[in-house]
Protein backbone atom coordinates (compact mmCIF):
# COMPACT_ATOMS: atom_id res chain seq x y z
CA UNK A 1 0.00 0.00 0.00
CA UNK A 2 1.41 3.33 -1.04
CA UNK A 3 1.22 6.51 0.98
CA UNK A 4 -1.47 7.97 -1.32
CA UNK A 5 -3.63 4.89 -0.86
CA UNK A 6 -3.46 5.09 2.95
CA UNK A 7 -4.21 8.82 2.84
CA UNK A 8 -7.23 8.19 0.60
CA UNK A 9 -8.56 5.55 3.01
CA UNK A 10 -8.13 7.85 6.02
CA UNK A 11 -9.76 10.88 4.36
CA UNK A 12 -12.70 8.90 2.98
CA UNK A 13 -13.31 7.14 6.32
CA UNK A 14 -13.20 10.43 8.22
CA UNK A 15 -15.63 11.97 5.74
CA UNK A 16 -18.07 9.08 6.13
CA UNK A 17 -17.79 9.35 9.93
CA UNK A 18 -18.56 13.09 9.85
CA UNK A 19 -21.52 12.50 7.50
CA UNK A 20 -22.84 9.90 9.96
CA UNK A 21 -22.38 12.39 12.80
CA UNK A 22 -24.43 14.95 10.86
CA UNK A 23 -27.28 12.48 10.41
CA UNK A 24 -27.15 11.60 14.11
CA UNK A 25 -27.00 15.28 15.05
CA UNK A 26 -30.05 16.13 12.97
CA UNK A 27 -31.84 13.23 14.63
CA UNK A 28 -30.84 14.01 18.23
CA UNK A 29 -30.69 17.80 18.53
CA UNK A 30 -33.74 19.20 20.31
CA UNK A 31 -34.74 22.28 18.29
CA UNK A 32 -34.47 23.62 14.78
CA UNK A 33 -31.49 25.98 15.21
CA UNK A 34 -29.40 23.32 16.92
CA UNK A 35 -30.33 20.80 14.22
CA UNK A 36 -29.06 23.38 11.77
CA UNK A 37 -25.67 23.43 13.51
CA UNK A 38 -25.27 19.71 12.86
CA UNK A 39 -26.96 19.81 9.45
CA UNK A 40 -24.78 22.60 8.06
CA UNK A 41 -21.30 22.37 9.54
CA UNK A 42 -20.98 18.60 9.68
CA UNK A 43 -22.40 17.91 6.21
CA UNK A 44 -20.15 20.54 4.65
CA UNK A 45 -16.87 19.18 6.02
CA UNK A 46 -18.14 15.60 5.68
CA UNK A 47 -18.93 16.03 1.99
CA UNK A 48 -15.64 17.82 1.37
CA UNK A 49 -13.59 15.03 3.01
CA UNK A 50 -15.62 12.17 1.51
CA UNK A 51 -15.60 13.46 -2.07
CA UNK A 52 -11.94 14.49 -1.89
CA UNK A 53 -11.02 11.07 -0.51
CA UNK A 54 -12.82 9.30 -3.34
CA UNK A 55 -11.03 11.68 -5.71
CA UNK A 56 -7.69 10.46 -4.29
CA UNK A 57 -8.69 6.91 -5.28
CA UNK A 58 -9.57 8.05 -8.82
CA UNK A 59 -7.41 11.14 -9.62
CA UNK A 60 -8.94 11.70 -13.07
CA UNK A 61 -12.24 12.62 -11.39
CA UNK A 62 -10.69 15.33 -9.20
CA UNK A 63 -11.71 18.36 -11.34
CA UNK A 64 -15.39 17.44 -11.38
CA UNK A 65 -15.37 16.44 -7.70
CA UNK A 66 -13.70 19.76 -6.91
CA UNK A 67 -16.60 21.51 -8.67
CA UNK A 68 -19.17 19.60 -6.55
CA UNK A 69 -17.18 20.44 -3.38
CA UNK A 70 -17.02 24.14 -4.31
CA UNK A 71 -20.75 24.20 -4.99
CA UNK A 72 -21.58 22.51 -1.67
CA UNK A 73 -19.32 24.86 0.35
CA UNK A 74 -20.81 27.94 -1.33
CA UNK A 75 -24.51 26.97 -1.17
CA UNK A 76 -24.86 25.07 2.11
CA UNK A 77 -24.69 28.14 4.39
CA UNK A 78 -27.11 30.00 2.11
CA UNK A 79 -29.87 27.41 2.45
CA UNK A 80 -29.21 27.33 6.19
CA UNK A 81 -29.73 31.12 6.45
CA UNK A 82 -32.95 30.91 4.46
CA UNK A 83 -34.31 28.18 6.73
CA UNK A 84 -33.14 30.00 9.89
CA UNK A 85 -34.93 33.19 8.87
CA UNK A 86 -38.07 31.23 8.08
CA UNK A 87 -37.91 29.46 11.44
CA UNK A 88 -37.48 32.72 13.32
CA UNK A 89 -40.15 34.69 11.47
CA UNK A 90 -42.89 32.12 12.06
CA UNK A 91 -43.99 32.20 15.74
CA UNK A 92 -45.26 28.60 15.77
CA UNK A 93 -41.92 27.30 14.44
CA UNK A 94 -39.68 29.21 16.84
CA UNK A 95 -38.12 27.10 19.64
CA UNK A 96 -38.86 28.31 23.18
CA UNK A 97 -35.56 27.37 24.83
CA UNK A 98 -33.59 30.50 23.82
CA UNK A 99 -31.88 32.10 26.82
CA UNK A 100 -31.54 35.49 25.15
CA UNK A 101 -33.11 36.61 21.87
CA UNK A 102 -31.90 39.99 20.59
CA UNK A 103 -33.55 39.54 17.20
CA UNK A 104 -37.03 39.34 18.76
CA UNK A 105 -36.37 42.57 20.68
CA UNK A 106 -35.23 44.44 17.61
CA UNK A 107 -38.25 43.19 15.64
CA UNK A 108 -40.55 44.29 18.48
CA UNK A 109 -38.95 47.73 18.39
CA UNK A 110 -39.89 48.21 14.74
CA UNK A 111 -43.60 47.72 15.19
Amino acid sequence: MSFMNILAHVVTGLGALVLFASGLGVFRMPDVFNKMHAGTKATTLGSVLFLFGLGLFEPSWLPKLFLIILFIVLTNPVSSHALARAAHNEPSEKPDNLIIDDLEESKGGDQ
Binding site: A21, V78, A84, L103
Partner: protein
Protein backbone atom coordinates in the same frame (compact mmCIF):
# COMPACT_ATOMS: atom_id res chain seq x y z
CA UNK B 1 -19.99 48.75 -19.02
CA UNK B 2 -16.44 50.00 -18.48
CA UNK B 3 -17.09 50.19 -14.73
CA UNK B 4 -17.97 46.49 -14.69
CA UNK B 5 -15.10 45.41 -16.93
CA UNK B 6 -12.86 43.87 -14.19
CA UNK B 7 -15.84 41.96 -12.79
CA UNK B 8 -16.80 40.69 -16.25
CA UNK B 9 -13.23 39.56 -16.95
CA UNK B 10 -12.95 37.70 -13.64
CA UNK B 11 -16.39 36.10 -14.07
CA UNK B 12 -15.41 34.93 -17.54
CA UNK B 13 -12.22 33.35 -16.23
CA UNK B 14 -14.07 31.52 -13.43
CA UNK B 15 -16.82 30.33 -15.80
CA UNK B 16 -14.24 29.10 -18.27
CA UNK B 17 -12.53 27.17 -15.46
CA UNK B 18 -15.87 25.53 -14.61
CA UNK B 19 -16.36 24.71 -18.33
CA UNK B 20 -12.93 23.07 -18.51
CA UNK B 21 -13.46 20.93 -15.42
CA UNK B 22 -16.91 19.85 -16.66
CA UNK B 23 -15.89 18.88 -20.19
CA UNK B 24 -12.32 17.68 -19.44
CA UNK B 25 -11.41 17.87 -23.14
CA UNK B 26 -8.83 20.09 -24.78
CA UNK B 27 -10.12 20.13 -28.39
CA UNK B 28 -9.78 23.50 -30.06
CA UNK B 29 -13.50 23.55 -30.93
CA UNK B 30 -14.59 22.83 -27.34
CA UNK B 31 -12.25 25.51 -25.99
CA UNK B 32 -13.48 28.16 -28.44
CA UNK B 33 -17.10 27.33 -27.64
CA UNK B 34 -16.27 27.48 -23.92
CA UNK B 35 -14.69 30.93 -24.23
CA UNK B 36 -17.68 32.25 -26.19
CA UNK B 37 -20.24 30.86 -23.73
CA UNK B 38 -18.30 32.06 -20.66
CA UNK B 39 -17.89 35.61 -21.97
CA UNK B 40 -21.55 35.82 -23.05
CA UNK B 41 -22.75 34.60 -19.65
CA UNK B 42 -20.42 36.99 -17.79
CA UNK B 43 -21.66 39.96 -19.86
CA UNK B 44 -25.29 38.92 -19.37
CA UNK B 45 -24.97 38.94 -15.56
CA UNK B 46 -22.67 42.03 -15.66
CA UNK B 47 -19.98 40.14 -13.75
CA UNK B 48 -22.15 39.77 -10.66
CA UNK B 49 -21.16 36.11 -10.36
CA UNK B 50 -17.74 36.75 -8.84
CA UNK B 51 -17.32 40.51 -8.53
CA UNK B 52 -13.91 42.02 -9.12
CA UNK B 53 -11.37 39.27 -8.51
CA UNK B 54 -8.65 41.15 -10.38
CA UNK B 55 -7.95 43.25 -7.29
CA UNK B 56 -6.41 40.12 -5.76
CA UNK B 57 -3.52 40.61 -8.19
CA UNK B 58 -1.84 43.06 -5.81
CA UNK B 59 0.48 41.08 -3.51
CA UNK B 60 -0.71 42.29 -0.11
CA UNK B 61 -4.39 41.69 -1.00
CA UNK B 62 -3.53 38.26 -2.34
CA UNK B 63 -1.70 37.40 0.89
CA UNK B 64 -4.67 38.71 2.91
CA UNK B 65 -7.03 36.48 0.88
CA UNK B 66 -4.82 33.41 1.39
CA UNK B 67 -4.63 34.23 5.11
CA UNK B 68 -8.41 34.47 5.28
CA UNK B 69 -8.91 31.12 3.56
CA UNK B 70 -6.39 29.46 5.90
CA UNK B 71 -8.04 31.01 8.98
CA UNK B 72 -11.44 29.89 7.69
CA UNK B 73 -10.31 26.29 7.05
CA UNK B 74 -8.83 26.00 10.57
CA UNK B 75 -12.06 27.38 12.06
CA UNK B 76 -14.14 24.94 10.00
CA UNK B 77 -12.18 21.92 11.23
CA UNK B 78 -12.45 23.20 14.81
CA UNK B 79 -16.20 23.63 14.34
CA UNK B 80 -16.57 20.03 13.24
CA UNK B 81 -14.51 18.64 16.13
CA UNK B 82 -16.68 20.72 18.47
CA UNK B 83 -20.00 19.58 16.98
CA UNK B 84 -18.77 15.98 16.73
CA UNK B 85 -18.04 15.63 20.44
CA UNK B 86 -21.25 17.47 21.28
CA UNK B 87 -23.42 15.06 19.29
CA UNK B 88 -22.01 11.87 20.83
CA UNK B 89 -22.58 12.94 24.47
CA UNK B 90 -25.46 11.11 26.22
CA UNK B 91 -27.01 14.48 27.09
CA UNK B 92 -26.23 17.15 24.51
CA UNK B 93 -24.84 20.26 26.28
CA UNK B 94 -26.70 23.26 24.85
CA UNK B 95 -27.29 26.80 26.09
CA UNK B 96 -28.79 28.47 23.00
CA UNK B 97 -29.34 32.15 22.41
CA UNK B 98 -29.47 34.77 19.67
CA UNK B 99 -27.05 37.66 20.11
CA UNK B 100 -26.59 40.86 18.11
CA UNK B 101 -23.31 42.30 16.91
CA UNK B 102 -22.37 45.25 14.72
CA UNK B 103 -20.96 44.79 11.27
CA UNK B 104 -19.05 47.71 9.77
CA UNK B 105 -18.34 46.31 6.31
CA UNK B 106 -20.18 48.22 3.58
CA UNK B 107 -19.88 45.88 0.59
CA UNK B 108 -22.78 43.42 0.20
CA UNK B 109 -20.43 40.73 -1.03
CA UNK B 110 -18.14 41.07 1.99
CA UNK B 111 -21.16 40.85 4.30
CA UNK B 112 -22.33 37.68 2.57
CA UNK B 113 -18.86 36.15 2.97
CA UNK B 114 -18.74 37.04 6.68
CA UNK B 115 -22.23 35.62 7.28
CA UNK B 116 -21.46 32.39 5.46
CA UNK B 117 -18.11 32.02 7.23
CA UNK B 118 -19.73 32.51 10.63
CA UNK B 119 -22.25 29.80 9.78
CA UNK B 120 -19.43 27.32 9.17
CA UNK B 121 -17.35 28.14 12.28
CA UNK B 122 -17.54 26.80 15.86
CA UNK B 123 -20.86 26.99 17.63
CA UNK B 124 -22.40 29.82 15.64
CA UNK B 125 -24.87 30.33 12.79
CA UNK B 126 -26.04 33.61 11.29
CA UNK B 127 -29.79 34.12 11.43
CA UNK B 128 -30.27 37.51 9.81
CA UNK B 129 -28.66 40.84 8.93
CA UNK B 130 -30.82 43.93 9.52
CA UNK B 131 -29.16 47.24 8.54
CA UNK B 132 -25.77 47.18 10.31
CA UNK B 133 -26.61 44.51 12.84
CA UNK B 134 -25.90 40.82 12.42
CA UNK B 135 -27.81 38.27 14.54
CA UNK B 136 -25.96 35.14 15.58
CA UNK B 137 -27.28 31.95 17.15
CA UNK B 138 -24.95 30.26 19.65
CA UNK B 139 -25.35 26.59 20.44
CA UNK B 140 -23.55 27.21 23.75
CA UNK B 141 -23.42 30.83 24.90
CA UNK B 142 -19.90 31.89 25.96
CA UNK B 143 -19.39 32.59 29.63
CA UNK B 144 -18.76 36.21 30.56
CA UNK B 145 -20.12 39.13 28.55
CA UNK B 146 -21.99 37.56 25.64
CA UNK B 147 -22.18 40.68 23.48
CA UNK B 148 -18.48 41.54 23.59
CA UNK B 149 -17.50 37.91 22.92
CA UNK B 150 -19.80 37.83 19.88
CA UNK B 151 -18.50 41.19 18.66
CA UNK B 152 -14.90 39.93 18.95
CA UNK B 153 -15.81 36.81 16.95
CA UNK B 154 -17.44 38.84 14.16
CA UNK B 155 -14.54 41.30 14.08
CA UNK B 156 -12.00 38.50 13.70
CA UNK B 157 -13.64 37.73 10.34
CA UNK B 158 -14.60 41.24 9.29
CA UNK B 159 -11.17 42.69 10.14
CA UNK B 160 -9.44 40.21 7.87
CA UNK B 161 -11.87 40.92 5.01
CA UNK B 162 -11.53 44.70 5.33
CA UNK B 163 -7.98 44.53 4.01
CA UNK B 164 -9.23 42.80 0.86
CA UNK B 165 -12.34 44.84 0.14
CA UNK B 166 -11.27 48.41 1.02
Amino acid sequence: MTKNLPSIVSSSIVLFGIWLSLTLTFDLQEIILGVVVSVLTAVAVKGALTGNLLRLLSPEKFLAAVGYVMFFLVQMVKANIDIFFRIFRPVIPIRPGIVRANITLKSERARAIVANSITLTPGTITIDIIDDEIFIHWVFLPSGDVHSETQAMVDSFAGRLEKIFE
